[in-house]
């Protein structure tokens, strides 16, 4: 097992090694993630009290879970959660199906200009939200958009930024941004599918579709679950897109999604409530990811 030259030191080195490898990551992780999270949690248990009149002193006092009760009782809490849940139910499957289709095509023999397409699909992910906002503001705008103009000339009077459609419009931007990203994860997994598997199936007379769906997809299942979980997390943390839409649509409120609500609360100096909301959001996301994993695991048998 171990070499004869260094019999004494090796086992000890090997018990310490993982910690040595982990430490460079864990130290900044603790400092820049865990400590701030702990701080936010602490803050969520406090509230501001004022003495000496309107412009007097303030004091932070312990309040237990009072802020949590406050947040949960706000009408926006349930509204925004239901909204992102609905959003995820529609948007995630559409996006992942599109990403999978593209990944399979890129991986298959029929595709031409692979490198070009791979780049093009990835580009939206590389465009900062601030910039994407400018672009989509134009494409959605009832006055400026050629797309809306086209629909109108076909007598379809649509208001892509109206209260009925804006959630879909946001979904479109999210799909636009993240399809390429998810596609890359799937594509990377597909690269690792052993060629002999498909080859064997082909010898058995399976068509390209059958090979894709019956052979390749099951093998990259972990990658699919991965993209599913992270899309789920992303959906519950939806922030940039609705935030950006606030500037262009009359239909996105400051509490449109839970994360946006937390941000709005923090902007109004209601830090404790914002912190409480963030903690609740993290817990809810965790629960959902867990359920999702259990569900996919059971289906796998």
């Amino acid at each position: 097992m171990t070499t004869t030259r260094t019999p004494a030191t090796t086992p000890r080195r090997r018990t310490l090694a993982p910690f040595a490898f982990l430490a460079p990551f864990l130290i900044p992780f603790v400092l820049f993630t865990l400590v701030p999270v702990g701080y936010a949690f602490w803050q969520s248990l406090h509230r501001t009290e004022r003495t000496g009149g309107t412009f007097g002193r303030t004091e932070t006092v312990f309040a237990g879970f009072e802020q949590y009760a406050d947040v949960v009782s706000e009408p926006f809490f349930v509204d925004s959660l239901v909204r992102v849940a609905l959003f995820g139910l529609v948007q995630i499957p559409v996006m992942l199906a599109l990403a999978l289709a593209l990944a399979l095509l890129l991986d298959s023999a029929v595709a031409r200009l692979k490198r070009f397409f791979r780049l093009v699909y990835f580009v939206p992910y590389g465009i900062p939200g601030v910039v994407a906002a400018l672009m989509w503001a134009f494409l959605y705008d009832p006055q400026l958009s050629p797309v809306v103009g086209l629909l109108r000339s076909a007598h379809l009077d649509v208001d892509l930024l109206g209260p009925g459609a804006v959630l879909f419009s946001i979904g479109n931007v999210v799909t636009w941004t993240y399809t390429g990203y998810n596609m890359l994860i799937m594509y990377a997994a597909l690269q690792a599918v052993p060629a002999d598997l498909s080859e064997a199936a082909r010898v058995d007379g399976a068509g390209a579709w059958t090979i894709a769906l019956r052979i390749k997809v099951p093998v990259i299942r972990p990658a699919l679950v991965l993209t599913g979980v992270f899309s789920l997390i992303g959906t519950f943390q939806l922030f940039t897109e609705p935030q950006v839409f606030r500037a262009i649509s009359t239909s996105v409120t400051s509490t449109y999604t839970p994360n946006l609500a937390a941000y709005s609360l923090a902007s109004s100096d209601r830090y404790s409530e914002a912190a409480a909301l963030s903690v609740l959001l993290a817990v809810a996301t965790f629960a959902l990811s867990f359920l999702f994993l259990r569900f996919t695991a059971r289906r796998q048998g």
Binding site: A17, F29, A40, V110, A188, A223, Q237, A262
Partner: protein, 298 residues
């Protein structure tokens, strides 16, 4: 969470397999892919067209059609604005995202490697806590981070944005999966028998085997840091430390009073996409090289 670590599919890749198959016809596939490409590029095309327009033409001419060509003037105005602050923003972004992602990927590779290869007490506990980090919204972290940095008098510094950016639990997660999939235990054992130290094994064997995956990790983290905007917004006051996203945002927020900034914001946005595309193209090469290198080992 154990399911996520099951990676039976992710073996070392086999390049150059023959891919000629019956069935799926090339033409509909190509049409579909081209349509999706059009969808992905339409907004970018608009940006491209807008960047060539003068301020006046921006609203008064159709958005998808070219008007008078002003790209050259717009570009020189962009780099001349406020003594060339835009170039500085670009360099800052490159420093934050390039160095941040490089270091972050290395740290993630080490951590992922440790979690995949060694069996030690508390391994799953550590991994779960790291995964939990993925669940924390960036919006919830930014403000506490600011207050903590303020305590050590380090806000409004390069490091106040750089250091938190280095930490990416998601990268560790990916690195663990890839390490588990691409580094056969026998290879490590063999190296140990040859008398190689743990660090040497990691550096000379594991890193190389993981390299195609690490390129992906680097790319993802690079883009995340490049696009990050909330943390710099809260941390930085000095304009010369801004990344390009925050700089463009600042300009955009002033457009109602200084309309000329609208053109500059658009041209600036276009230019800021170029490094991302270049990074991708550059990494794509390494990707192929990496894929090939990984194959040699198996």
């Amino acid at each position: 969470m154990t399911l996520l670590t099951r990676t039976e599919g992710a073996h070392a890749p086999v390049p150059g397999r023959p891919r000629r198959g019956p069935g799926l016809s090339a033409v509909p596939a190509f049409v579909f892919m081209a349509l999706v490409a059009g969808y992905m590029l339409l907004p970018v095309y608009w940006l491209l067209v807008s960047a060539t327009k003068s301020q006046g033409d921006l609203v008064s001419t159709p958005g998808l059609l070219l008007a008078d060509w002003h790209l050259g003037e717009n570009l020189s105005a962009l780099f001349a604005q406020q003594d060339g602050v835009y170039a500085r923003w670009l360099l800052n972004s490159l420093a934050y995202a390039g160095a941040g992602a490089a270091i972050g990927t290395l740290l993630a590779a080490m951590a992922g490697y440790a979690l995949a290869v060694y069996r030690f007490k508390g391994r799953e506990a550590v991994f779960s806590v790291i995964l939990g980090g993925v669940l924390v919204p960036a919006t919830a972290l930014a403000l506490p981070l600011f207050l903590l940095f303020a305590e050590v008098d380090a806000t409004n510094t390069f490091w106040s944005v750089f250091l938190p950016s280095v930490v990416s639990p998601f990268s560790v997660y990916l690195a663990r999966i890839f390490a588990a999939a691409s580094i056969p235990e026998e290879v490590i054992e063999a190296a140990r028998i040859d008398g190689a130290g743990e660090w040497t094994i990691f550096r000379t064997i594991a890193l190389r085997m993981m390299s195609p995956a690490l390129v992906t990790v680097f790319l993802f983290q690079f883009v995340v840091i490049w696009n990050n905007f909330l943390l710099p917004l809260i941390m930085l006051q000095d304009e010369r430390l801004y990344p390009v996203t925050l700089g463009l945002f600042t300009w955009q927020s002033q457009t109602s009073r200084v309309p000329e900034l609208q053109t500059l914001t658009l041209v600036g946005a276009l230019v800021s996409v170029v490094p991302i595309v270049l990074t991708f193209l550059l990494l794509q090469r390494y990707w192929r090289a990496g894929l090939a290198a990984g194959a040699v080992k198996s």
